[in-house]
């Protein structure tokens, strides 16, 4: 009886939580999507295993405790799972996103030498920026400027397109900050990265 008295408000609370969770930006899924795109662009072999997806986390979860609590937990998991699944559904398979990815991928081979020489670095806003133009030969400087302008135009399009394709144009800033983090994490050795305070370090 006590369990039921305690259980219903808990369940109600949990169900309410299930509903409200959907309005939040699906950070984990977005990060997964960003990682897929970033690795694809950088053509990097995964240096470390990607963070496990949510279902894996659930599979590794072994309930412990009172059987009633376990039953409630399992029931809640069943209820919450669809909400989370819906939340995790970040779509990056649109024609526009594919076009942008292809464009960025094509550019990567031209940009890579400038990433390595420190001419261009990944900034803390999900864009690339010219950090040391003097490290580029005089004749290459306008090429660098064009590459950076084109890359940033594509990246801006990519972030807005991902937000739009998932029905939430207002997510653009969060998509961008997610990408900013993932670009930094996935940067190849030798690349230059800007930290939150604006300082630069080489990976």
């Amino acid at each position: 009886m006590l369990n039921r008295i305690i259980g219903f408000p808990l369940m109600a609370l949990a169900l309410t939580a299930c509903v409200t969770i959907n309005i939040y930006f699906p950070a984990a899924a977005a990060e997964e999507a960003a990682r897929t795109i970033v690795r694809d662009v950088l053509k990097s072999e995964p240096q470390e295993p990607a963070p496990p997806a949510k279902p894996d986390e659930k599979q590794s979860y072994t309930p412990q405790g009172h059987p009633l609590a376990i039953a409630f937990g399992v029931m809640m998991e069943a209820l919450v799972a669809p909400a989370q699944a819906a939340q995790a559904d970040i779509n990056i398979n649109t024609a526009a996103i594919s076009a942008i990815r292809a464009s960025m991928q094509k550019r990567q081979s031209s940009l890579a030498p400038f990433y390595r020489s420190g001419v261009v670095g990944f900034d803390n806003k999900g864009s690339v920026t010219i950090r040391d133009l003097n490290a580029a030969a005089l004749g290459e400087r306008n090429q660098v400027k064009k590459l950076v302008a084109d890359e940033n135009a594509d990246r801006a399009k990519l972030y807005s397109e991902i937000a739009r394709a998932n029905g939430h144009p207002e997510w653009e800033a969060e998509v961008r900050s997610t990408f900013a983090k993932v670009w930094t994490q996935e940067a190849l050795p030798g690349y230059w990265l800007q930290d939150a305070s604006g300082g630069w370090r080489q990976r």
């Binding site: 779509n91 398979n93 649109t94 024609a95 526009a96 594919s98 076009a99 942008i100 464009s103 010219i130 040391d132 133009l133 003097n134 490290a135 580029a136 005089l138 004749g139 400087r141 306008n142 400027k145 064009k146 302008a149 084109d150 135009a153 594509d154 399009k157 397109e161 739009r164 394709a165 998932n166 029905g167």
Partner: protein
């Protein structure tokens, strides 16, 4: 010298505190008469300068020979030019005819702004007041400088021959030229500078200098140079306070980056000349002739005059010509266009440009084009052989500008030759007559085009146009775009074409005939048409299409009958469907023959469910075609999901095709939702007669 003597000789003056001791002694020994004079001043100062520990000694060996030595412990130079320490000037003086000469003088400086010196010098002074001094070699700015000075009754001339003197140090020495201290400026100069003057000041300058090994780099990398050699010549003469000058600058080797321009003299050296006059009193600069030639790229010439402390142009004409517009674009224009749709072009042809400026700014411009061709390397647009001239005038109506264009292309769609007659005046551009562009067997006629707000700083450019399409072949259009070929022609009235803030929009509608029916597209707009991901929006209605022609075109399996379609809220992102609301249906009261082939039934079924109907395994395989009553299909695409619907059935399913007669066949849908990519994949997999739908 005792203290008494010092006090005795002290001179009190606000500007000059003189404390000197003179010792005069006459010695005589062995019948040789000699004079030795030593004179010292503890300190002496004038306006802006000061000398400490000045000593002058003079000793006579014969009547025609004596030696002079001047030493100064510390000489503070005027105008903050630093100080000379340990100065010693020695000179054995000899009397020649009516002149005193010093053929083997010595100058020593322990420290000075132009470093320590130990130099020989020669000098002479004639009785009529003519002075000549030569210092063959002074160590200056890591190089050497030879000096020659002549003065005669107030008229003077000087020759300065720098040899490999460092530019940065020279600039610092001059105190006039402030070069950025953090640019790491390197480079040296050699040559000859001849100066002449009279008591009123400088009267002529002749400089012939070579600057070599010139290099610098600003910390932000926006300004840099490497291995530059520059040759400069300047001749200047003053007459009645007005300077006349001729200058020449040659830049044969080296590379320069001045954001956004990169110029490598190896790609074509640069030469510039400038002749004119400068009146400091009137602050008036007159350019009689100026030229700048970037070999193989462009030449610029200019005449005019400027006035005031900021030298604002009063009457200035600049003419530019290029016989290689490709190099002109690559070297001088493209850097300014980075980040725009015009930053990756291939250009050829010849251009000439004349600009005139008055006190208010540019008031006239003329552009002459010969054989100009440009092509976007990403294949988005291009212009073939174009000839013509464009005139612009800020205030007056100018003659009509004409352009004859051999052809153009946009998104691989080529056009035929066409002419443009247009009038450029003030901030407006108006068509004189409609521009008719032959395209795809028909034409686009640009009936009206008006641009305002261009070419005026601060104004916001806006343009409006209207155009009409006549008899444009859909067959040619679809073939060019590598779509399944349509038959028919496109006619359209495009009213209120606009382009603003990256959005191209069309008022009115495109109306065209295809597949025996009429198709009308309205509300067409394209955001960012030349960007990576253009977004197209439109609504379309189709009436009375002949299904037989349509299904034949798309190799779908033959269907006969007519079809109406409404396609609302179309959105293509990157030219791919992203959103639309499509309703295909048999028109009401359609009395045409309604037949659907077995293959079409199979394909429709597979499209709806993902699996074929398998008619060939049933008794129905003996029938090639079936009669149908109505076709009705609704597809609502939103993002990655397409919702499907048709004629409602009581069992919850819906008819895609409602059959009639016998044998009756209905195509019934049950799936209400399908992933768009699955639907597209199914469409692509449908193959009939070896053809694949793309």
């Amino acid at each position: 010298m005792n203290r008494f003597a010092r006090r005795l000789l002290k001179v009190g003056s606000p500007l000059c505190r003189l404390l000197a001791v003179a010792v005069l002694s006459m010695l005589s020994a062995a019948g040789i008469a000699a004079i030795e004079l030593a004179f010292s001043i503890e300190d002496i100062e004038g306006e802006g300068w000061r000398a400490d520990g000045l000593a002058i000694s003079l000793s006579e060996s014969t009547a025609d020979h004596f030696a002079v030595a001047i030493t100064v412990a510390n000489l503070v130079l005027p105008d903050d030019h630093g100080s000379l320490k340990g100065l010693r000037l020695e000179c054995p003086v000899q009397r020649h005819a009516s002149a005193w000469a010093c053929d083997d003088g010595r100058l020593r400086l322990e420290a000075s702004p132009i470093q320590a010196q130990d130099a020989s010098w020669q000098g002479s002074y004639t009785d009529d007041g003519r002075l000549q001094i030569t210092i063959p070699r002074l160590s200056v700015a890591r190089g050497t400088v030879a000096l020659e000075l002549l003065a005669d009754d107030g008229v003077w001339s000087a020759r300065v021959r720098p040899n490999r003197t460092a530019i940065a140090q020279l600039a610092a020495l001059s105190g006039q030229l402030a070069l950025p201290s953090d640019w790491g400026i390197q480079g040296r100069t050699s040559g000859l500078v001849k100066l002449a003057g009279d008591p009123a000041g400088l009267t002529s300058v002749d400089a012939d200098l070579v600057f070599d090994q010139l290099a610098y780099a600003s910390p932000d990398g926006t300004q840099a140079a490497e291995k530059i050699v520059v040759k400069a010549e300047l001749k200047g003469r003053v007459r009645k306070t007005v300077w006349r000058f001729d200058a020449m600058l040659g830049w044969p080797t080296g590379a320069l980056y001045a954001e956004p321009l990169f110029l490598d003299a190896g790609d074509g050296p640069l030469t510039a000349t400038l002749s004119g006059s400068w009146s400091p009193q009137q602050a008036r600069l007159q350019i009689d002739g100026g030229s700048l030639e970037l070999a193989g790229t462009a030449g610029v010439s200019a005449t005019g005059w400027f006035l005031g402390p900021e030298l604002s142009p009063q009457d200035l004409t600049i003419a530019m010509h290029s016989d290689d517009a490709g190099r002109l674009y690559g070297r001088l224009l493209q850097p300014f266009l980075i980040g725009t749709a015009a930053d990756d072009l291939q250009v050829a042809g010849r251009v000439g440009l004349v600009l005139h400026f008055d006190k208010q700014g540019m008031d006239q411009a003329g552009l002459e084009i010969k054989g100009l061709a440009l092509e976007d390397r990403q294949g988005r647009f291009g212009l073939d052989n174009t000839d013509g001239s464009i005139g612009w005038d800020r205030s007056k109506v100018v003659p009509v500008s004409r352009l004859a264009i051999a052809g153009a292309s946009i998104y691989r769609i080529p056009t035929g030759a066409f002419d443009i007659r247009v009038r450029f005046a003030a901030d407006r551009i108006d068509l004189v007559e409609p521009v008719v562009v032959p395209v795809l067997g028909g034409s686009i006629a640009l009936d009206r085009f008006a641009l305002s707000g261009a070419l005026i700083a601060g104004a916001r450019p806006t343009w409006q146009a209207s155009a009409s399409l006549r008899d444009v072949s859909l067959e040619q259009l679809t073939r060019t775009l590598e779509w399944p070929p349509f038959n028919g022609t496109l006619d359209a009235q495009l009213r209120e074409l606009r382009y603003a803030d990256g959005l191209f929009s069309v008022g009115g509608g495109l109306e065209f005939s295809a597949f025996g029916g009429r198709i009308e597209v309205r509300g067409l707009s394209i955001q960012d048409p030349l960007g990576t991901v253009p977004v197209l929006q439109a609504d379309a209605t189709m009436r009375g299409l002949e299904l037989e022609a349509l299904t034949e075109t798309f190799k779908f399996g033959r269907i006969e009958g007519r079809l109406d379609a409404d396609m609302q809220d179309i959105q293509l992102v990157g030219w791919q469907p992203d959103r639309f609301n499509l309703h295909l249906r048999t028109p009401p009261n359609d009395d045409s023959r309604h037949r659907i082939s077995q293959r079409a039934v199979e394909n429709l079924t597979e499209l709806g469910s993902g699996v074929p109907a398998g008619l060939s395994a049933t008794v129905l395989r003996v029938f090639d075609e079936f009669r149908y009553d109505r076709i009705d299909l609704r597809i609502l695409l939103h993002g990655s999901v397409a919702d499907l619907d048709g004629l409602a059935r009581p069992d919850g399913g819906y008819y895609l095709v409602k059959g009639s007669g016998l044998p009756r066949i209905d195509v019934i849908g049950r799936n209400r939702s399908v992933a768009w990519k699955d639907l597209v994949e199914r469409l692509q997999q449908i193959q009939v007669e070896g053809a694949q739908i793309k």
